[in-house]
């Protein structure tokens, strides 16, 4: 701890501390987790900001994400290239938003993007159907999926355009007290 680490410069660590919800120790621990995924790809010296990008398959094999049905969407949302290949910055960003200190609005924004499968900034019926199928492992019948989607849009759509915008989603999240504790990965 302290000044002995040589992975980052002091300014880099400061910048990470200001831009995420992690402390120094946690950032170094997360770097170790990132490096453990591919020790030959990730250098031990990040002072010159190397452009190292881990492919999605490695990210998706982490124990925290391995069994999550939304892991692909999570990786896509937080990666720069939108394909799921993450740099260290993306990695830290992702776990910062999913940590317990992130505020509700920030988490709601990213949750909205995760559930928005076609990236059109609205949760339309097809997005909801895909979400439901991932939630229940495709075990609901067609009728049931249709009914639940209709009910969700009925409940949450405030401006009556048949699909959920970010504001509708955030308004619904305000009334769900569980959200902060379920949208949370501890690492």
């Amino acid at each position: 701890m302290g000044n002995k680490q040589t992975i980052f410069t002091a300014q880099q660590l400061d910048a990470y501390q200001d831009c995420t919800f992690f402390t120094r120790k946690e950032i170094l621990r997360l770097f170790d987790r990132y490096r453990d995924l591919a020790p030959q790809l990730v250098p031990l010296d990040y002072t010159d900001q190397p452009d190292v990008r881990l492919p999605y398959e490695l990210i998706g094999s982490m124990p925290e994400l391995k069994d999550n049905p939304f892991r692909q969407r999570i990786a896509e949302v937080f990666s720069e290239d939108g394909e799921g290949n993450m740099t260290l910055d993306d990695f830290l960003d992702m776990f910062s938003v999913l940590s317990e200190m992130a505020p509700r609005d920030l988490k709601a924004y990213y949750a909205f993007k995760i559930y928005d499968f076609n990236n059109d900034d609205f949760l339309c019926k097809s997005d909801l159907e895909k979400t439901l199928n991932k939630l229940t492992r495709n075990e609901l019948t067609e009728d049931e999926v249709r009914m639940v989607c209709e009910k969700v849009i009925d409940e949450a759509d405030l401006d009556n355009d048949g699909r959920l915008s970010l504001e509708d989603f955030q308004h619904m999240i305000v009334r769900a007290p569980d959200f902060l504790s379920t949208f949370h990965i501890r690492i």
Partner: protein
């Protein structure tokens, strides 16, 4: 237009900044892809009015939903732009920053100290929030009992030990009354059979009876030595009263935080589908098995919700005859279950009377008679809910109503069975039937020379038996069940399956144990300590059985696993214990042969007696506080505050409704305008936005 404005602003800053090109590339991508997303105002100064700037921009920055590169770039720009502040402000800002860093580090250290943090997290990850809430409730009870024990030890136990060892400086006041009432011989035999110690440990008699464990051992010493004055009976009474108040405050405080969230989010029924879909998935869930189970649970929950709606629609469409039939069926089955519960109460009453009559029986049979009330209560708690569940199959309520009804029946049964036991004991002690036994000492001194110790022993036995039964169930039922189910697979074992960890019955067990402790704390001061140890061991035992023997429950209902529900039931238990304590303090004559209140006619009368010894000014002050001149203005003032708060809440509720209606209207306006634009553009032959988009993506490819 937003894009070009941002580009212009960023280009002015980008001069001389090496990351500018990266920035513009990132910005263009982020702006085009999310026009709904939040935008960062590059032109804003870092400290606006000094409020934002006190903790500094860093706090604001990490709450913005941008990529890390963008955030770091913004941070560098903000740091480059040196704000014009005085040295005092910059010192204040740097101190605030280091303070927040320190607080974050301290929080990290404190979370290591929190009891069982890792275990709770692991349980939550594998079995879900419902089971985790049970274990968190258990942890709360362990801490509550431990703090209560510290309270009691500090004010009752340690002074008692000190005064006993320095017996010269105290004075005991003997009671005035018939000599026969003062006889109390707690059976201090010299040489006993070797297993007698074990039997005594289990039933609280023998060597345990005349010890710090029970009420009878404490003297009514008033210690006075060189200016130090300690009135032990008063301390005993006030500590007990404060113990109850302390527990109430803890429970209400814990409930307050949960209730605040519940009230803010409104009723749970509205928006349940969208909540289930968007917040139902627990991202912390790890492991293939846990994930599959979670998915099954969500599936089941959605099916149940849809089924309930179907049932509700059907219920609305019933004819009059069918409704009448259904109502009469409900009433009949309710009467049947009440009869079952009443039968259990009668059994407890009879068992208690019989057990109290068998005092003095020897050996294992004696132990059995002594434990008879506990055995009957525990049997009743198993058999009656099981039979009520069978009855509930005929009742044809909706699933959630069925579970809530079953829970209320169980709570009713458990609490009232304890109440029946207490009532029986008290009626024996004070001879409700006005028999001549109680004429001499105002309590039944022949059978209960020191009745408080006997009540304490009863409560001790209840607590111990509850613990032993739980451990026995673990080893004799759950482990074998798992072994059988895992190693022999036939149709029967597959149907029975592994044990399911049902949260509500387990929580009721905890509440029952805690109620027993509250009832018995006045008579058995070490009971909170015993309970702390009991719950501590229970945590580990339940954890072991959870991970080895149980499968998570597929059917969970959020309302029944919520903290508020647990705390409400705990308050029921507290209320029952409070009634028992008030009755003991104010109605029954304390034993004349033992205990700190032996010279008084009523336990509470120590307070008025001590009151008379206070100085005149203190007495006047306290009289004034109780008089009308003080209490009526206080009452009026609190009414005014209450009205104000209620009015504030009503106004907020109304403004929330108004804003919701306004949001709907704006949505309709937006749709109307969009339709008009589309019509106009169609008439004028201008391509619409959709057509433009397809053209763009086509060009990019």
């Amino acid at each position: 237009m937003e894009f070009s404005e941002l580009q212009r602003q960023s280009s002015t800053i980008a001069h001389g900044y090496h990351g500018a090109q990266q920035l513009m590339r990132l910005q263009s991508k982020s702006v085009v892809s999310n026009q709904n997303g939040p935008q960062f105002n590059w032109g804003s100064p870092p400290s606006e009015g000094g409020e934002e700037g006190d903790v500094g921009p860093p706090k604001d920055l990490r709450e913005r939903p941008m990529t890390m590169r963008l955030k770091r770039a913004i941070r560098e720009v903000q740091q480059m732009r040196v704000p014009v502040v005085t040295s005092w402000q910059s010192w204040k800002r740097s101190k605030a920053k280091s303070l927040s860093r320190f607080r974050a580090d301290a929080g990290g250290v404190m979370s290591y100290v929190a009891l069982w943090r890792k275990a709770l997290h692991k349980i939550g990850g594998h079995f879900g929030g419902g089971v985790q809430s049970y274990f968190m409730f258990l942890r709360f009870l362990v801490v509550l009992n431990f703090l209560s024990f510290l309270l009691i030890a500090g004010f009752i136990l340690i002074p008692s030990i000190v005064f006993r060892s320095t017996s010269t400086s105290n004075m005991t006041v003997d009671s005035t009354g018939p000599e026969v009432c003062k006889v109390y011989d707690p059976n201090l035999q010299g040489l006993v059979v070797f297993y007698q110690y074990f039997l005594d440990l289990l039933s609280g008699t023998g060597f345990m009876e005349y010890s710090y464990m029970f009420y009878g051992y404490y003297n009514n010493t008033v210690a006075e030595s060189s200016g130090f004055h300690y009135n032990l009976p008063l301390a005993y009474l006030l500590t007990s009263v404060f113990y109850f108040t302390f527990c109430l405050i803890c429970i209400v405080a814990r409930m307050g935080s949960a209730l605040r969230v519940a009230v803010a989010t409104g009723s749970g029924a509205a928006g349940s589908y969208s909540k289930m879909v968007f917040t139902g998935w627990d991202y912390g869930c790890q492991g293939d098995r846990a994930t599959k189970l979670k998915q099954k649970s969500i599936h089941y929950q959605l099916q149940v919700d849809l089924e309930e709606e179907r049932l509700q629609k059907k219920a609305l469409s019933l004819t009059l005859g069918q409704t009448v039939g259904l109502c009469s069926l409900h009433i009949f089955l309710m009467l049947v279950s009440l009869a079952l519960i009443g039968g259990a109460f009668f059994g407890i009453f009879k068992a208690t009377v019989f057990s109290q009559a068998q005092v003095g029986a020897e050996g294992i049979l004696g132990l059995f008679w002594v434990y008879l009330p506990s055995i009957v209560i525990t049997t009743g708690n198993f058999v009656v809910p099981f039979m009520c569940d069978q009855i509930a199959l005929f009742e044809r309520y909706s699933p959630s109503t069925t579970i809530i009804m079953a829970l209320f029946r169980s709570v009713f049964l458990r609490m009232i069975s304890l109440g029946v036991l207490l009532f029986t004991l008290w009626s024996q002690i004070t001879c409700f039937k006005d028999s001549p036994k109680c004429e001499l000492c105002q309590y039944n001194n022949k059978e209960y020379p020191c009745w408080e110790t006997r009540v304490g022993q009863e409560m001790y036995k209840l607590a111990l038996f509850d613990f032993l039964i739980t451990i026995a169930m673990l080893f004799l039922v759950e482990f074998p069940r798992r072994l059988v189910v895992d190693h022999y697979s036939c149709a029967l074992t597959r149907w029975v399956g592994r044990q399911e960890f049902l949260v509500p019955p387990n929580v009721l067990g905890l509440v029952y144990g805690q109620t027993v402790v509250w009832t018995g704390a006045l008579f058995c001061p070490l009971l909170p300590l015993i309970n702390t140890l009991k719950f501590f061991i229970l945590f580990y035992c339940k954890k072991v059985t959870l991970f080895s023997n149980c499968r998570p429950a597929v059917k969970t209902f959020r309302s029944t696993t919520s903290t508020i529900f647990f705390l409400v039931v705990l308050l029921f238990g507290w209320g029952l214990a409070l009634v028992a304590m008030i009755y003991s303090l104010a109605q029954i004559h304390p034993s004349m042969s033992c205990g700190p209140f032996r010279s008084l006619t009523m336990m509470w009368s120590i307070v008025p007696n001590t009151f008379d010894t206070l100085s005149l000014t203190t007495q006047d002050f306290i009289f004034y506080m109780g008089s009308q001149a003080f209490s009526i203005p206080l009452f009026i003032f609190s009414c005014v505050v209450l009205c104000y708060v209620a009015a504030l809440a009503a106004v907020y509720g109304k403004s929330v409704d108004l804003l919701k209606a306004q949001l709907k209207l704006e949505g309709r306006d937006k749709q109307f305008l969009v339709k008009q634009i589309e019509e106009l553009s169609r008439e004028m032959g201008v391509p619409t936005r959709d057509q433009l988009d397809t053209f763009d993506t086509g060009a990019a490819n």
